[in-house]
Protein backbone atom coordinates (compact mmCIF):
# COMPACT_ATOMS: atom_id res chain seq x y z
CA UNK A 1 0.00 0.00 0.00
CA UNK A 2 2.93 2.34 0.65
CA UNK A 3 4.02 1.98 -2.96
CA UNK A 4 0.47 2.57 -4.13
CA UNK A 5 0.25 5.85 -2.23
CA UNK A 6 3.57 7.06 -3.58
CA UNK A 7 2.41 6.13 -7.08
CA UNK A 8 -0.67 8.28 -6.55
CA UNK A 9 1.35 11.27 -5.30
CA UNK A 10 3.58 10.88 -8.33
CA UNK A 11 0.60 10.51 -10.65
CA UNK A 12 -1.17 13.58 -9.27
CA UNK A 13 1.99 15.64 -9.71
CA UNK A 14 2.60 14.30 -13.18
CA UNK A 15 -0.99 15.16 -14.16
CA UNK A 16 -0.39 18.70 -12.95
CA UNK A 17 2.78 18.92 -14.99
CA UNK A 18 0.82 17.51 -17.91
CA UNK A 19 -1.19 20.74 -18.02
CA UNK A 20 2.04 22.71 -18.43
CA UNK A 21 3.83 20.33 -20.80
CA UNK A 22 1.01 18.46 -22.52
CA UNK A 23 -1.54 21.22 -22.97
CA UNK A 24 0.34 24.51 -23.04
CA UNK A 25 3.44 22.93 -24.58
CA UNK A 26 5.92 24.50 -22.14
CA UNK A 27 8.96 22.58 -20.99
CA UNK A 28 9.29 22.85 -17.23
CA UNK A 29 12.31 21.13 -15.67
CA UNK A 30 11.89 22.47 -12.16
CA UNK A 31 8.36 21.32 -11.47
CA UNK A 32 9.27 19.33 -8.36
CA UNK A 33 9.87 22.64 -6.57
CA UNK A 34 6.12 23.28 -6.55
CA UNK A 35 5.48 19.90 -4.95
CA UNK A 36 8.20 20.78 -2.47
CA UNK A 37 6.77 24.18 -1.61
CA UNK A 38 3.39 22.59 -0.89
CA UNK A 39 5.06 19.97 1.29
CA UNK A 40 7.07 22.58 3.17
CA UNK A 41 4.00 24.71 3.81
CA UNK A 42 2.20 21.68 5.22
CA UNK A 43 5.21 20.68 7.31
CA UNK A 44 5.75 24.10 8.87
CA UNK A 45 2.06 24.28 9.79
CA UNK A 46 1.69 20.67 10.88
CA UNK A 47 2.27 21.17 14.60
CA UNK A 48 5.34 18.94 14.45
CA UNK A 49 7.86 19.43 17.26
CA UNK A 50 10.29 20.70 14.61
CA UNK A 51 7.81 22.95 12.86
CA UNK A 52 8.90 26.56 12.72
CA UNK A 53 5.45 28.09 12.63
CA UNK A 54 3.34 27.42 15.67
CA UNK A 55 0.02 27.99 13.93
CA UNK A 56 -1.84 24.81 13.02
CA UNK A 57 -4.90 25.57 10.93
CA UNK A 58 -7.34 22.88 9.76
CA UNK A 59 -5.95 20.68 7.01
CA UNK A 60 -8.17 22.04 4.23
CA UNK A 61 -6.83 25.51 4.95
CA UNK A 62 -3.29 24.12 4.79
CA UNK A 63 -4.05 22.49 1.43
CA UNK A 64 -5.31 25.76 0.01
CA UNK A 65 -2.41 27.71 1.50
CA UNK A 66 0.15 25.25 0.16
CA UNK A 67 -1.46 25.35 -3.27
CA UNK A 68 -1.60 29.14 -3.26
CA UNK A 69 2.04 29.47 -2.19
CA UNK A 70 3.04 27.13 -5.01
CA UNK A 71 0.86 29.00 -7.51
CA UNK A 72 2.37 32.31 -6.39
CA UNK A 73 5.84 30.90 -6.91
CA UNK A 74 4.65 29.73 -10.32
CA UNK A 75 3.48 33.24 -11.18
CA UNK A 76 6.70 34.80 -9.90
CA UNK A 77 8.90 32.45 -11.89
CA UNK A 78 6.54 32.47 -14.87
CA UNK A 79 5.94 36.15 -15.45
CA UNK A 80 9.50 37.05 -16.48
CA UNK A 81 10.43 33.72 -18.06
CA UNK A 82 7.37 32.91 -20.15
CA UNK A 83 8.37 35.65 -22.54
CA UNK A 84 11.32 33.51 -23.57
CA UNK A 85 10.57 30.39 -25.52
CA UNK A 86 11.43 26.73 -25.68
CA UNK A 87 14.92 25.85 -24.57
CA UNK A 88 15.43 29.04 -22.59
CA UNK A 89 12.36 28.34 -20.52
CA UNK A 90 13.67 24.85 -19.78
CA UNK A 91 16.95 26.28 -18.49
CA UNK A 92 15.28 28.93 -16.35
CA UNK A 93 12.92 26.41 -14.76
CA UNK A 94 15.81 24.02 -14.21
CA UNK A 95 17.57 26.81 -12.36
CA UNK A 96 14.44 27.59 -10.38
CA UNK A 97 14.20 23.98 -9.20
CA UNK A 98 17.74 24.14 -7.88
CA UNK A 99 17.21 27.56 -6.31
CA UNK A 100 14.24 26.18 -4.43
CA UNK A 101 16.26 23.27 -3.08
CA UNK A 102 19.14 25.48 -2.00
CA UNK A 103 16.77 27.99 -0.44
CA UNK A 104 15.22 25.23 1.67
CA UNK A 105 18.73 24.04 2.48
CA UNK A 106 19.83 27.45 3.70
CA UNK A 107 16.78 28.80 5.51
CA UNK A 108 18.10 27.29 8.73
CA UNK A 109 18.52 30.35 10.90
CA UNK A 110 22.21 30.87 10.17
CA UNK A 111 21.54 33.13 7.25
CA UNK A 112 18.11 34.65 7.46
CA UNK A 113 15.09 33.20 9.17
CA UNK A 114 14.79 29.65 10.37
CA UNK A 115 11.94 28.21 8.35
CA UNK A 116 13.07 24.82 7.19
CA UNK A 117 15.76 23.58 9.59
CA UNK A 118 18.11 23.45 6.62
CA UNK A 119 19.41 20.04 5.60
CA UNK A 120 17.73 18.32 8.56
CA UNK A 121 14.32 19.16 7.21
CA UNK A 122 11.18 18.88 9.30
CA UNK A 123 10.66 15.38 10.69
CA UNK A 124 7.94 14.14 12.98
CA UNK A 125 5.02 15.52 11.02
CA UNK A 126 1.92 14.20 12.78
CA UNK A 127 -0.67 12.11 10.98
CA UNK A 128 -3.44 13.91 9.18
CA UNK A 129 -6.46 14.50 11.34
CA UNK A 130 -9.73 15.67 9.83
CA UNK A 131 -12.35 16.07 12.54
CA UNK A 132 -12.04 13.01 14.74
CA UNK A 133 -10.71 10.90 11.88
CA UNK A 134 -7.03 10.15 12.39
CA UNK A 135 -5.24 8.90 9.29
CA UNK A 136 -2.66 6.98 11.32
CA UNK A 137 -5.16 4.62 12.88
CA UNK A 138 -6.70 1.58 11.29
CA UNK A 139 -10.40 2.01 10.72
CA UNK A 140 -12.99 -0.61 9.94
CA UNK A 141 -15.13 -0.14 6.89
CA UNK A 142 -17.87 -2.78 6.66
CA UNK A 143 -15.65 -5.18 8.53
CA UNK A 144 -12.63 -4.58 6.28
CA UNK A 145 -9.73 -2.99 8.14
CA UNK A 146 -8.45 0.14 6.41
CA UNK A 147 -4.87 0.78 7.47
CA UNK A 148 -2.82 3.99 7.55
CA UNK A 149 -1.66 3.79 3.97
CA UNK A 150 -5.13 2.95 2.74
CA UNK A 151 -6.45 6.08 4.43
CA UNK A 152 -3.93 8.19 2.55
CA UNK A 153 -4.57 6.17 -0.57
CA UNK A 154 -8.21 7.18 -0.66
CA UNK A 155 -7.47 10.83 0.02
CA UNK A 156 -4.94 10.78 -2.78
CA UNK A 157 -7.43 9.04 -5.04
CA UNK A 158 -9.80 11.96 -4.50
CA UNK A 159 -6.93 14.35 -5.22
CA UNK A 160 -6.01 12.56 -8.45
CA UNK A 161 -9.67 12.64 -9.43
CA UNK A 162 -9.76 16.38 -8.83
CA UNK A 163 -6.61 16.94 -10.88
CA UNK A 164 -8.01 14.87 -13.74
CA UNK A 165 -11.27 16.81 -13.60
CA UNK A 166 -9.47 20.14 -13.77
CA UNK A 167 -7.21 18.86 -16.52
CA UNK A 168 -9.96 17.56 -18.78
CA UNK A 169 -12.32 20.47 -18.24
CA UNK A 170 -9.66 23.03 -19.00
CA UNK A 171 -8.65 21.01 -22.03
CA UNK A 172 -12.20 21.03 -23.41
CA UNK A 173 -12.83 24.72 -23.12
CA UNK A 174 -12.02 28.04 -24.67
CA UNK A 175 -8.77 27.98 -22.69
CA UNK A 176 -7.85 24.52 -23.99
CA UNK A 177 -8.44 25.68 -27.56
CA UNK A 178 -6.21 28.66 -26.90
CA UNK A 179 -3.45 26.34 -25.67
CA UNK A 180 -3.67 24.19 -28.79
CA UNK A 181 -3.55 27.29 -30.96
CA UNK A 182 -0.42 28.45 -29.13
CA UNK A 183 1.23 25.07 -29.67
CA UNK A 184 0.33 25.11 -33.34
CA UNK A 185 1.38 28.64 -34.23
CA UNK A 186 2.07 31.13 -31.50
CA UNK A 187 2.24 34.14 -33.78
CA UNK A 188 -0.99 33.34 -35.59
CA UNK A 189 -2.67 32.75 -32.22
CA UNK A 190 -1.58 36.17 -31.01
CA UNK A 191 -2.75 37.74 -34.28
CA UNK A 192 -6.17 36.10 -33.78
CA UNK A 193 -6.54 37.70 -30.37
CA UNK A 194 -5.47 34.80 -28.15
CA UNK A 195 -3.82 36.02 -24.96
CA UNK A 196 -0.65 33.97 -25.45
CA UNK A 197 1.27 35.21 -22.43
CA UNK A 198 -1.75 35.08 -20.13
CA UNK A 199 -2.61 31.52 -21.13
CA UNK A 200 0.95 30.32 -20.63
CA UNK A 201 1.02 31.95 -17.22
CA UNK A 202 -2.32 30.37 -16.39
CA UNK A 203 -0.99 26.91 -17.29
CA UNK A 204 2.03 27.54 -15.11
CA UNK A 205 -0.04 28.73 -12.17
CA UNK A 206 -2.65 25.95 -12.38
CA UNK A 207 0.09 23.33 -12.68
CA UNK A 208 1.88 24.76 -9.66
CA UNK A 209 -1.37 24.99 -7.70
CA UNK A 210 -2.11 21.30 -8.22
CA UNK A 211 1.44 20.27 -7.36
CA UNK A 212 1.22 22.34 -4.19
CA UNK A 213 -1.95 20.50 -3.21
CA UNK A 214 -0.32 17.14 -3.77
CA UNK A 215 2.67 18.31 -1.74
CA UNK A 216 0.59 19.06 1.36
CA UNK A 217 -0.73 15.50 1.43
CA UNK A 218 2.69 14.07 0.64
CA UNK A 219 4.24 15.83 3.66
CA UNK A 220 1.84 14.07 6.02
CA UNK A 221 2.12 10.75 4.30
CA UNK A 222 5.94 10.78 4.36
CA UNK A 223 6.03 12.17 7.89
CA UNK A 224 9.05 14.31 7.07
CA UNK A 225 10.28 16.80 4.50
CA UNK A 226 13.87 17.55 3.62
CA UNK A 227 15.50 19.37 0.70
CA UNK A 228 17.02 16.23 -0.82
CA UNK A 229 13.56 14.86 -1.65
CA UNK A 230 13.18 17.58 -4.27
CA UNK A 231 16.16 17.08 -6.52
CA UNK A 232 16.28 17.63 -10.27
CA UNK A 233 16.07 13.91 -10.93
CA UNK A 234 12.51 13.93 -9.60
CA UNK A 235 11.51 16.64 -12.08
CA UNK A 236 13.12 14.60 -14.83
CA UNK A 237 11.16 11.52 -13.76
CA UNK A 238 7.91 13.45 -13.83
CA UNK A 239 8.67 14.61 -17.33
CA UNK A 240 9.67 11.10 -18.35
CA UNK A 241 6.34 9.78 -17.06
CA UNK A 242 4.50 12.23 -19.29
CA UNK A 243 6.61 11.58 -22.37
CA UNK A 244 6.46 7.82 -21.89
CA UNK A 245 2.72 7.75 -21.26
CA UNK A 246 1.64 10.30 -23.82
CA UNK A 247 1.63 14.08 -23.56
CA UNK A 248 -1.75 15.65 -23.11
CA UNK A 249 -3.57 12.42 -22.25
CA UNK A 250 -4.99 11.32 -18.92
CA UNK A 251 -4.71 7.55 -19.25
CA UNK A 252 -1.24 7.80 -20.73
CA UNK A 253 0.22 9.92 -17.97
CA UNK A 254 -1.36 7.76 -15.27
CA UNK A 255 0.15 4.72 -16.99
CA UNK A 256 3.52 6.41 -17.36
CA UNK A 257 3.55 7.47 -13.71
CA UNK A 258 2.66 3.96 -12.58
CA UNK A 259 5.35 2.38 -14.73
CA UNK A 260 8.05 4.78 -13.61
CA UNK A 261 7.17 4.42 -9.94
CA UNK A 262 6.52 0.67 -9.90
CA UNK A 263 9.40 -0.46 -12.07
CA UNK A 264 12.16 0.66 -9.69
CA UNK A 265 10.44 -1.20 -6.86
CA UNK A 266 10.19 -4.38 -8.87
CA UNK A 267 13.68 -4.03 -10.29
CA UNK A 268 15.57 -3.51 -7.05
CA UNK A 269 18.19 -6.10 -7.98
CA UNK A 270 18.76 -4.05 -11.08
CA UNK A 271 19.14 -0.79 -9.23
CA UNK A 272 22.54 0.24 -10.55
CA UNK A 273 21.37 0.09 -14.14
CA UNK A 274 17.95 1.61 -13.55
CA UNK A 275 18.74 5.05 -14.86
CA UNK A 276 20.56 3.59 -17.82
CA UNK A 277 17.47 1.56 -18.62
CA UNK A 278 15.18 4.59 -18.35
CA UNK A 279 17.44 6.60 -20.58
CA UNK A 280 17.49 3.89 -23.19
CA UNK A 281 13.74 3.48 -22.98
CA UNK A 282 13.17 7.19 -23.55
CA UNK A 283 15.53 7.30 -26.51
CA UNK A 284 13.71 4.37 -28.08
CA UNK A 285 10.36 6.00 -27.40
CA UNK A 286 11.49 9.23 -29.06
CA UNK A 287 12.63 7.31 -32.08
CA UNK A 288 9.69 4.99 -32.58
CA UNK A 289 6.71 6.46 -30.79
CA UNK A 290 7.24 10.10 -29.86
CA UNK A 291 3.58 10.58 -29.01
CA UNK A 292 3.82 8.12 -26.08
CA UNK A 293 2.21 4.80 -25.21
CA UNK A 294 -1.29 6.25 -25.15
CA UNK A 295 -1.35 8.90 -27.84
CA UNK A 296 -3.65 11.87 -27.95
CA UNK A 297 -4.95 12.37 -31.49
CA UNK A 298 -3.75 15.93 -31.61
CA UNK A 299 -0.25 15.07 -30.44
CA UNK A 300 -0.07 12.20 -32.90
CA UNK A 301 -0.85 14.64 -35.69
CA UNK A 302 1.72 17.10 -34.42
CA UNK A 303 4.45 14.50 -34.29
CA UNK A 304 3.67 13.11 -37.75
CA UNK A 305 3.28 16.19 -39.88
CA UNK A 306 4.16 14.36 -43.08
CA UNK A 307 1.88 11.39 -42.55
CA UNK A 308 -1.11 12.01 -44.84
CA UNK A 309 -2.76 8.65 -44.18
CA UNK A 310 -2.77 9.20 -40.45
CA UNK A 311 -4.36 12.62 -40.92
CA UNK A 312 -7.09 11.17 -43.13
CA UNK A 313 -7.71 8.32 -40.68
CA UNK A 314 -8.00 10.66 -37.70
CA UNK A 315 -10.19 13.01 -39.68
CA UNK A 316 -12.68 10.28 -40.52
CA UNK A 317 -12.84 9.42 -36.80
CA UNK A 318 -13.58 13.05 -36.04
CA UNK A 319 -16.33 13.16 -38.63
CA UNK A 320 -17.81 9.97 -37.16
CA UNK A 321 -17.74 11.48 -33.66
CA UNK A 322 -19.52 14.58 -34.85
CA UNK A 323 -22.44 12.50 -36.15
Amino acid sequence: MSIATSVLVFAATAMGLNIVVGLAGLLDLGYIAFLGSGAYVAATMSGSAFATIGWKPPFLVVVLLGACVAATLGLIIGSPTLRVSGDYLAIVTLGFGEIFRFAMFNLDGNNGPNLTNGPNGIPGIPELQIGSFNFGDTHDLLGIPISRFSNYYFVLLVLVGLVILIFSRLNNSRIGRGWIAIREDEKAAEAMGVNVFGLKLLAFAVGAFLAGMAGTVKAHQDGAVSPDQYIFLESAFLLAAIVLGGMGTIAGVLLGATILKLLPEKLRFFSEYRLLLFGLLLVLMMRFRPEGLVASKRRQLEFHEEDEELAVAIESELVEEAK
Binding site: I166, E190, A191
Partner: protein
Protein backbone atom coordinates in the same frame (compact mmCIF):
# COMPACT_ATOMS: atom_id res chain seq x y z
CA UNK B 1 9.50 60.90 -52.26
CA UNK B 2 6.38 60.63 -54.33
CA UNK B 3 3.43 62.51 -52.98
CA UNK B 4 0.34 60.39 -52.62
CA UNK B 5 -2.50 61.65 -54.76
CA UNK B 6 -5.62 62.44 -52.87
CA UNK B 7 -8.85 61.03 -54.22
CA UNK B 8 -11.77 63.16 -53.22
CA UNK B 9 -13.82 61.72 -56.07
CA UNK B 10 -14.67 58.42 -54.36
CA UNK B 11 -14.79 59.69 -50.80
CA UNK B 12 -18.35 60.99 -50.53
CA UNK B 13 -19.97 57.68 -51.45
CA UNK B 14 -18.57 55.94 -48.36
CA UNK B 15 -19.07 56.45 -44.65
CA UNK B 16 -16.73 57.50 -41.90
CA UNK B 17 -13.04 56.58 -42.07
CA UNK B 18 -12.43 53.26 -40.31
CA UNK B 19 -8.69 53.02 -40.68
CA UNK B 20 -6.38 55.99 -40.83
CA UNK B 21 -2.70 55.22 -41.16
CA UNK B 22 -0.47 58.24 -41.41
CA UNK B 23 3.24 58.42 -42.08
CA UNK B 24 3.84 54.74 -41.38
CA UNK B 25 7.56 54.04 -41.67
CA UNK B 26 9.34 50.77 -41.00
CA UNK B 27 13.09 50.56 -41.01
CA UNK B 28 15.08 47.33 -40.57
CA UNK B 29 18.62 48.49 -39.87
CA UNK B 30 19.72 50.15 -43.09
CA UNK B 31 16.72 48.97 -45.09
CA UNK B 32 13.77 51.29 -45.39
CA UNK B 33 10.98 48.77 -45.97
CA UNK B 34 8.03 51.14 -45.70
CA UNK B 35 8.42 54.87 -45.94
CA UNK B 36 5.81 57.45 -44.93
CA UNK B 37 2.81 55.56 -46.25
CA UNK B 38 -0.64 57.03 -45.66
CA UNK B 39 -3.81 55.04 -46.08
CA UNK B 40 -7.40 55.84 -45.22
CA UNK B 41 -10.10 53.22 -45.47
CA UNK B 42 -13.74 54.18 -45.14
CA UNK B 43 -16.73 52.16 -44.03
CA UNK B 44 -17.87 49.67 -46.65
CA UNK B 45 -14.91 50.30 -48.90
CA UNK B 46 -12.66 47.75 -50.60
CA UNK B 47 -9.13 49.05 -50.99
CA UNK B 48 -6.47 47.26 -52.98
CA UNK B 49 -2.78 47.32 -52.19
CA UNK B 50 -0.56 46.45 -55.14
CA UNK B 51 3.09 46.64 -55.96
CA UNK B 52 5.93 44.51 -57.24
CA UNK B 53 7.51 41.83 -55.02
CA UNK B 54 9.42 43.34 -52.14
CA UNK B 55 7.54 46.63 -52.33
CA UNK B 56 6.68 46.42 -48.63
CA UNK B 57 3.01 45.47 -48.86
CA UNK B 58 3.12 42.71 -46.28
CA UNK B 59 5.45 44.75 -44.08
CA UNK B 60 2.87 47.53 -44.19
CA UNK B 61 0.17 45.03 -43.14
CA UNK B 62 2.38 43.87 -40.29
CA UNK B 63 2.78 47.48 -39.17
CA UNK B 64 -0.98 48.00 -39.27
CA UNK B 65 -1.74 44.86 -37.26
CA UNK B 66 0.95 45.34 -34.65
CA UNK B 67 3.14 42.39 -35.65
CA UNK B 68 5.84 45.00 -36.27
CA UNK B 69 6.20 48.17 -34.28
CA UNK B 70 6.50 50.90 -36.93
CA UNK B 71 9.62 53.05 -36.65
CA UNK B 72 7.34 56.05 -36.91
CA UNK B 73 3.81 56.88 -37.90
CA UNK B 74 0.42 56.32 -36.42
CA UNK B 75 -2.42 53.91 -37.06
CA UNK B 76 -5.93 54.87 -35.97
CA UNK B 77 -8.97 52.64 -36.03
CA UNK B 78 -12.28 54.54 -35.83
CA UNK B 79 -10.38 57.50 -34.47
CA UNK B 80 -8.52 55.75 -31.63
CA UNK B 81 -4.77 55.19 -31.98
CA UNK B 82 -3.82 51.50 -32.04
CA UNK B 83 -1.00 50.21 -29.88
CA UNK B 84 1.46 48.03 -31.83
CA UNK B 85 0.25 44.83 -30.16
CA UNK B 86 -1.50 42.22 -32.31
CA UNK B 87 -3.96 41.28 -29.61
CA UNK B 88 -5.03 44.86 -28.92
CA UNK B 89 -5.45 45.45 -32.66
CA UNK B 90 -7.75 42.44 -32.99
CA UNK B 91 -9.77 43.54 -29.98
CA UNK B 92 -10.12 46.99 -31.49
CA UNK B 93 -11.64 45.43 -34.62
CA UNK B 94 -9.02 44.76 -37.27
CA UNK B 95 -8.35 41.16 -38.33
CA UNK B 96 -6.09 39.72 -40.99
CA UNK B 97 -5.14 36.67 -42.99
CA UNK B 98 -1.61 35.64 -43.88
CA UNK B 99 0.16 35.42 -47.21
CA UNK B 100 1.51 31.96 -46.39
CA UNK B 101 -1.55 30.39 -44.80
CA UNK B 102 -1.15 30.18 -41.04
CA UNK B 103 -4.05 28.03 -39.94
CA UNK B 104 -3.88 25.80 -36.90
CA UNK B 105 -3.20 22.79 -39.08
CA UNK B 106 -4.09 20.04 -36.62
CA UNK B 107 -7.38 21.55 -35.54
CA UNK B 108 -10.65 21.08 -37.37
CA UNK B 109 -12.15 23.87 -39.45
CA UNK B 110 -14.72 24.56 -36.75
CA UNK B 111 -12.10 24.69 -34.01
CA UNK B 112 -10.01 27.10 -36.05
CA UNK B 113 -12.91 29.50 -36.29
CA UNK B 114 -13.73 28.99 -32.62
CA UNK B 115 -10.20 30.14 -31.75
CA UNK B 116 -11.04 33.32 -33.63
CA UNK B 117 -13.89 33.88 -31.16
CA UNK B 118 -11.41 33.81 -28.26
CA UNK B 119 -11.07 37.58 -27.95
CA UNK B 120 -14.86 38.10 -27.92
CA UNK B 121 -15.50 35.56 -25.16
CA UNK B 122 -14.43 35.68 -21.57
CA UNK B 123 -14.96 32.34 -19.79
CA UNK B 124 -12.09 32.07 -17.34
CA UNK B 125 -10.41 29.10 -15.74
CA UNK B 126 -12.81 28.78 -12.82
CA UNK B 127 -16.03 28.79 -14.81
CA UNK B 128 -14.42 26.41 -17.32
CA UNK B 129 -13.65 23.92 -14.55
CA UNK B 130 -17.01 24.30 -12.82
CA UNK B 131 -18.93 24.32 -16.13
CA UNK B 132 -21.13 27.13 -14.88
CA UNK B 133 -24.11 28.44 -16.84
CA UNK B 134 -21.99 31.19 -18.34
CA UNK B 135 -19.54 28.65 -19.70
CA UNK B 136 -22.24 26.55 -21.31
CA UNK B 137 -24.02 29.54 -22.79
CA UNK B 138 -20.82 31.01 -24.19
CA UNK B 139 -19.55 27.69 -25.53
CA UNK B 140 -22.82 27.05 -27.38
CA UNK B 141 -22.84 30.57 -28.78
CA UNK B 142 -19.21 30.24 -29.92
CA UNK B 143 -19.96 26.97 -31.69
CA UNK B 144 -23.07 28.35 -33.37
CA UNK B 145 -21.31 31.51 -34.53
CA UNK B 146 -18.35 29.51 -35.85
CA UNK B 147 -20.66 27.25 -37.83
CA UNK B 148 -22.51 30.28 -39.15
CA UNK B 149 -19.23 31.79 -40.39
CA UNK B 150 -18.20 28.53 -42.03
CA UNK B 151 -21.53 28.54 -43.84
CA UNK B 152 -20.91 32.17 -44.79
CA UNK B 153 -17.61 31.38 -46.54
CA UNK B 154 -19.07 28.20 -48.04
CA UNK B 155 -17.35 25.62 -45.84
CA UNK B 156 -20.40 24.66 -43.80
CA UNK B 157 -20.08 21.00 -44.73
CA UNK B 158 -16.38 20.71 -43.87
CA UNK B 159 -16.62 21.81 -40.25
CA UNK B 160 -15.14 18.58 -38.85
CA UNK B 161 -12.33 18.35 -41.38
CA UNK B 162 -8.78 18.93 -40.27
CA UNK B 163 -7.41 22.19 -41.61
CA UNK B 164 -4.31 20.48 -42.96
CA UNK B 165 -6.37 18.05 -45.05
CA UNK B 166 -8.40 20.75 -46.76
CA UNK B 167 -7.78 21.81 -50.36
CA UNK B 168 -5.75 24.95 -50.78
CA UNK B 169 -8.62 27.21 -51.76
CA UNK B 170 -10.67 26.04 -48.79
CA UNK B 171 -7.78 26.79 -46.45
CA UNK B 172 -7.75 30.36 -47.72
CA UNK B 173 -11.47 30.67 -47.12
CA UNK B 174 -11.13 29.11 -43.69
CA UNK B 175 -8.54 31.72 -42.80
CA UNK B 176 -11.00 34.41 -43.82
CA UNK B 177 -13.70 32.80 -41.66
CA UNK B 178 -11.29 32.72 -38.72
CA UNK B 179 -10.54 36.41 -39.20
CA UNK B 180 -14.26 37.23 -39.42
CA UNK B 181 -14.83 35.37 -36.15
CA UNK B 182 -13.09 38.17 -34.28
CA UNK B 183 -15.98 40.51 -35.20
CA UNK B 184 -13.80 42.99 -37.09
CA UNK B 185 -14.78 46.29 -38.63
CA UNK B 186 -11.99 45.88 -41.13
CA UNK B 187 -10.31 42.79 -42.57
CA UNK B 188 -6.89 42.78 -44.16
CA UNK B 189 -6.45 40.01 -46.73
CA UNK B 190 -2.89 39.20 -47.74
CA UNK B 191 -3.02 37.64 -51.22
CA UNK B 192 -6.34 35.83 -50.83
CA UNK B 193 -6.19 34.30 -54.31
CA UNK B 194 -2.52 33.29 -54.45
CA UNK B 195 -2.29 29.88 -56.07
CA UNK B 196 -5.97 29.70 -56.94
CA UNK B 197 -7.44 28.71 -60.30
CA UNK B 198 -9.73 31.16 -62.17
CA UNK B 199 -12.90 29.63 -60.78
CA UNK B 200 -11.65 29.79 -57.21
CA UNK B 201 -10.53 33.36 -57.81
CA UNK B 202 -14.04 34.26 -58.94
CA UNK B 203 -15.47 32.67 -55.79
CA UNK B 204 -12.97 34.61 -53.68
CA UNK B 205 -14.03 37.82 -55.31
CA UNK B 206 -17.71 37.02 -54.65
CA UNK B 207 -16.83 36.28 -51.04
CA UNK B 208 -15.08 39.61 -50.60
CA UNK B 209 -18.08 41.46 -52.03
CA UNK B 210 -20.26 39.49 -49.62
CA UNK B 211 -18.05 40.55 -46.71
CA UNK B 212 -18.27 44.15 -47.85
CA UNK B 213 -22.07 43.92 -48.15
CA UNK B 214 -22.24 42.72 -44.55
CA UNK B 215 -20.91 46.14 -43.56
CA UNK B 216 -17.18 45.58 -43.27
CA UNK B 217 -14.29 47.33 -44.91
CA UNK B 218 -11.66 45.29 -46.70
CA UNK B 219 -8.03 45.88 -47.65
CA UNK B 220 -6.62 43.38 -50.16
CA UNK B 221 -3.04 42.74 -51.20
CA UNK B 222 -3.01 41.04 -54.57
CA UNK B 223 -0.82 40.37 -57.56
CA UNK B 224 -3.66 39.42 -59.86
CA UNK B 225 -4.43 42.76 -61.52
CA UNK B 226 -7.67 41.72 -63.18
CA UNK B 227 -8.92 40.55 -59.80
CA UNK B 228 -7.94 43.72 -57.99
CA UNK B 229 -9.23 46.17 -60.61
CA UNK B 230 -12.61 44.44 -60.73
CA UNK B 231 -12.89 44.27 -56.99
CA UNK B 232 -11.61 47.46 -55.46
CA UNK B 233 -13.09 50.89 -55.02
CA UNK B 234 -9.65 52.37 -54.62
CA UNK B 235 -6.13 51.10 -55.22
CA UNK B 236 -2.83 52.08 -53.62
CA UNK B 237 0.35 51.13 -55.40
CA UNK B 238 3.49 50.72 -53.33
CA UNK B 239 6.94 50.66 -54.89
CA UNK B 240 10.11 50.22 -52.85
CA UNK B 241 8.29 51.06 -49.67
CA UNK B 242 6.79 54.28 -50.96
CA UNK B 243 3.25 55.08 -52.00
CA UNK B 244 3.49 55.65 -55.74
CA UNK B 245 -0.10 56.24 -56.79
CA UNK B 246 -3.44 56.11 -55.10
CA UNK B 247 -6.71 56.33 -56.98
CA UNK B 248 -9.60 54.52 -58.59
CA UNK B 249 -8.74 51.29 -60.43
CA UNK B 250 -9.08 53.14 -63.74
CA UNK B 251 -6.67 55.85 -62.67
CA UNK B 252 -4.07 53.46 -61.31
CA UNK B 253 -4.40 51.07 -64.21
CA UNK B 254 -3.55 53.76 -66.75
CA UNK B 255 -0.84 55.47 -64.72
CA UNK B 256 2.46 55.19 -66.59
CA UNK B 257 4.43 55.09 -63.33
CA UNK B 258 2.61 51.93 -62.21
CA UNK B 259 3.30 50.23 -65.50
CA UNK B 260 6.91 51.26 -65.33
CA UNK B 261 7.19 49.98 -61.76
CA UNK B 262 5.90 46.60 -62.82
CA UNK B 263 7.65 46.19 -66.10
CA UNK B 264 10.70 48.06 -64.84
CA UNK B 265 13.73 48.75 -66.97
CA UNK B 266 14.12 45.16 -68.03
CA UNK B 267 15.92 43.98 -64.91
CA UNK B 268 12.88 42.41 -63.34
CA UNK B 269 12.49 38.70 -63.24
CA UNK B 270 9.74 37.58 -65.60
CA UNK B 271 8.13 35.37 -62.97
CA UNK B 272 7.43 38.38 -60.83
CA UNK B 273 5.31 40.07 -63.42
CA UNK B 274 1.67 39.46 -62.91
CA UNK B 275 -0.13 38.58 -66.09
CA UNK B 276 -2.70 41.31 -65.51
CA UNK B 277 -0.32 44.19 -65.94
CA UNK B 278 1.21 42.78 -69.07
CA UNK B 279 -2.27 42.63 -70.58
CA UNK B 280 -2.94 46.15 -69.42
CA UNK B 281 0.25 47.32 -71.08
CA UNK B 282 -0.61 45.56 -74.30
CA UNK B 283 -4.01 47.19 -74.35
CA UNK B 284 -2.32 50.54 -73.84
CA UNK B 285 -0.04 49.88 -76.79
CA UNK B 286 -2.90 49.07 -79.08
CA UNK B 287 -4.83 52.20 -78.30
Amino acid sequence: MTVTDAVPSTAPTFGQPVLEASGVTMRFGGLLAVSEVNLTVREGEIVGLIGPNGAGKTTFFNCLTGLYKPTSGEVRLSGTPLPPKPRAVVRAGMARTFQNIRLFANMTALENVMVGRYCRTSSGAITSVLRGPKFRREEAATRARAQELLDFVGLGKSSEHLARNMPYGDQRRLEIARALATDPKLVLLDEPTAGMNPQETRQASDLIFKIRDSGLSVVVIEHDMRFIFNLCDRVLCLVRGEALVEGTPAEVQSDPRVIEAYIGTGEDDDDDEPAGVRDVVREEDQS
